[in-house]
């Protein structure tokens, strides 16, 4: 039997060397090849796709429930905006901003947040996974843990918020009185995508924190959902310190305030150069890099302490 086993072994090694791997595997993903950051990212995306597809199928096992929660999600976010409409039935401006302008800020923040929430919104469950030990079952899989955790409980019902955000943003773009320039038009998709990335970084950083403090999901929610609520109003509504915090500490101001106020032709409450309005993509990249480092540190700490 020993010989048979050895054959088994050499067959495997020969397979790895000659590329005798499943046809779908691109080169460089095989066993034994040192994994570069790019292969890891591709591997992660692949795992994310597969796991989120499984969650979609899981939700479809309860179709009625899916339809109801999606509608509920949509309705809840719509009511959220109705509150602002009600405010405007009493006043003409909020912090010096008209309804269309507030709707613009609201729609941009809501869409960006909705996209991040849709993609990785369940990361606040990480603490629970650490507590009950199910994170270990992800760690024995040949896929990056971040991708597996990000895809955890992937829920299409979160499209409800994205839909609401897009509808309000669409309304605002028609209603708002702006002298459109090509740069301002370009700014719209840019701010939504960068904003989603910034929120995603906050989600990841919050999850990384949960490796250390497992019951910190509410802290995370304060920054994600709380941050979203903050951004739905013009910065002039808040005190300067709050705006400073949102600009320099947790830079969510780059989601919609800075680029949005440029589009609206409004001055930013803080003395920042005009070009700062164009930095959201850079800020997003920096945030994601920092969040990635935080994640690695968190995971390393988990693997050295257990829980």
């Amino acid at each position: 039997m020993a010989e048979r086993l050895r054959q088994h072994d050499t067959r495997q090694e020969a397979g790895a060397a000659a590329g005798d791997v499943p046809r779908e595997a691109p080169s460089g993903l095989r066993d034994g090849t040192p994994e570069g950051p790019l292969t890891r990212a591709l591997d992660g995306l692949r795992a994310y796709r597969m796991i989120s597809a499984m969650w979609i199928r899981s939700t479809m096992a309860y179709r009625a429930s899916f339809a109801m929660t999606t509608f509920g999600n949509f309705a809840a976010t719509v009511l959220d905006f109705v509150a602002i409409l009600l405010m405007f039935s009493q006043v003409d401006a909020l912090g010096g901003y008209g309804l269309a302008e507030v709707a613009f800020l609201y729609g941009a923040a809501s869409t960006a947040f909705g996209l991040a929430d849709l993609a990785i919104g369940s990361m606040d469950r990480l603490g629970r996974r650490v507590r009950d030990g199910t994170l270990d079952t992800l760690l024995v899989r040949p896929a990056p843990v971040l991708a597996q955790v990000a895809a955890d409980r992937f829920a299409l019902r979160r499209l409800g918020r994205v839909t609401q955000g897009l509808l309000i943003l669409g309304y605002a773009l028609f209603a708002v009185d702006i002298a459109w320039t090509p740069l301002k038009v370009l700014m719209i998709p840019l701010m939504v995508v960068s904003g989603a990335a910034i929120f995603a970084a906050v989600f990841v950083a919050g999850a990384a924190f949960q490796f250390v403090a497992q019951d910190a999901s509410e802290v995370q929610n304060a920054f994600t959902y709380g941050g979203n609520t903050l951004l739905q109003y013009p910065p002039t509504v808040f005190g300067k310190d709050m705006v400073r915090g949102a600009t320099f500490l947790v830079p969510i101001a780059f989601v919609n305030w800075l680029p949005g106020l440029y589009v609206l032709g409004r001055p930013y409450p803080l003395a920042l150069p005009t070009w700062a309005a164009f930095t959201p993509p850079l800020v997003a990249v920096a945030c994601c890099a920092l969040a990635g480092l935080a994640w690695r540190a968190g995971l390393r700490s988990y693997r050295s302490t257990g829980s």
Partner: protein, 334 residues
């Protein structure tokens, strides 16, 4: 090849040290609240310098009481936890550093945590494994067929996992861990909570898997019948240290365990007096005599038969659980 040689011939080719641990340690910093804001830090040595080798194709039982360091060891072997010290290799790979690479070569079954998709039919979980592990189509089909047949899963493939019984789900989990042809299989309490029939099925499957595919199996369990029926070699861990490593029989000697000779006499008698045994219980004409497990029963039987009116007799093997309990007790008192 006897098991005793496994631990000594450590340089006997790459297969001998397929799983190799040298002075592996895991120290946890535990912080405990001692006052309103005061916290006391102290270190817990969950694994305190463990050294062993497992040969490729071996099936080893890894046992010990709760909190002994079993799970911590398994977590280090699978790359979940990074050791605090020592050297650890599985199939030549450092698990902590190359977790994902190792993941393709090992299978893990956590008895109390399913990896199957709760709301989806069993087969869907297997299809995910197929793609996630990039198992070649033909091998996947072959392995799935084999598991379905041997683990009796044919009728369950289209059933959502949430509707499976515990035993069915465990069989499903074991199959899921084997589809990618792992060279090592770690089983953490694979028979916990199962009924007798399911237990037997799982054990039979594992025995065949080890014999035919040559899969190396490391098994932690509380059910010593698992060990008795599956593993020729057993390792006992307590307080993070390896207390015993060898064949199951040898455990009795180490634990100074005793076998019991039960004799039925013609009539009630006062406790028998024979050398090398002592009476531990008397119940009418039936008496229980304890004697060292390592000693032969024949001279004792002869001695009893020569001096007393013997009607019937039987020999009872020592209870392994009692043996291990005794080992622990000895360690605490010493």
């Amino acid at each position: 090849m006897t098991t005793a040689e496994h631990t000594t011939d450590i340089d006997d080719g790459p297969d001998a040290g397929f799983i190799a641990l040298d002075g592996v340690e895991k120290v946890f910093d535990v912080r405990r609240k001692t006052g309103f804001l005061r916290r006391e830090r102290h270190q817990v040595r969950a694994v305190d310098g463990i050294t062993f080798r497992v040969r490729r194709g071996e099936m080893v039982g890894y046992i010990g009481p709760n909190g002994a360091g079993k799970s911590t060891t398994i977590k280090m072997l699978t790359g979940i936890l990074t050791p605090s010290g020592g050297r650890l290799r599985v199939a030549g790979i450092d698990p902590a550093r190359e977790r994902t690479r190792l993941a393709r070569r090992i299978g893990v079954v956590f008895g109390q945590r399913t990896t199957l998709w709760w709301d989806l039919p069993l087969i869907d979980s297997y299809r995910l494994m197929h793609r996630m592990y990039r198992i070649p189509d033909r091998r996947y089909a072959e392995n799935l067929d084999r598991c379905v047949q041997l683990l009796d899963l044919a009728d369950l493939l289209d059933v959502p996992v949430r509707q499976l019984s515990l035993g069915q789900r465990m069989r499903g989990d074991i199959a899921a861990a084997l589809l990618h042809d792992p060279e090592v299989l770690y089983l953490d309490e694979p028979t916990i909570g199962l009924d007798v029939v399911s237990k037997a099925k799982v054990r039979e499957f594992l025995r065949d898997l080890n014999a035919e595919a040559g899969t190396t199996v490391l098994l932690t369990t509380h059910d010593l019948t698992d060990i008795e029926q599956l593993c020729r070699r057993v390792m006992v861990i307590d307080h993070g240290r390896l207390m015993y490593d060898g064949p199951l029989d040898g455990l009795h000697e180490v634990g100074e365990s005793e076998r019991t000779l039960v004799v039925d006499l013609e009539r009630e008698l006062p406790p028998l007096e024979v050398e090398s045994a002592r009476v531990v219980k008397v119940e009418g004409p039936r008496q229980w005599l304890a004697f060292p497990a390592a000693a032969s029963a024949a001279p004792l039987v002869a001695a009893v038969a020569a001096r007393y009116p013997l009607v019937d007799l039987s020999v009872r093997e020592p209870d392994i659980e009692a043996v291990i309990a005794k080992m622990y007790a000895d360690r605490v008192t010493s």
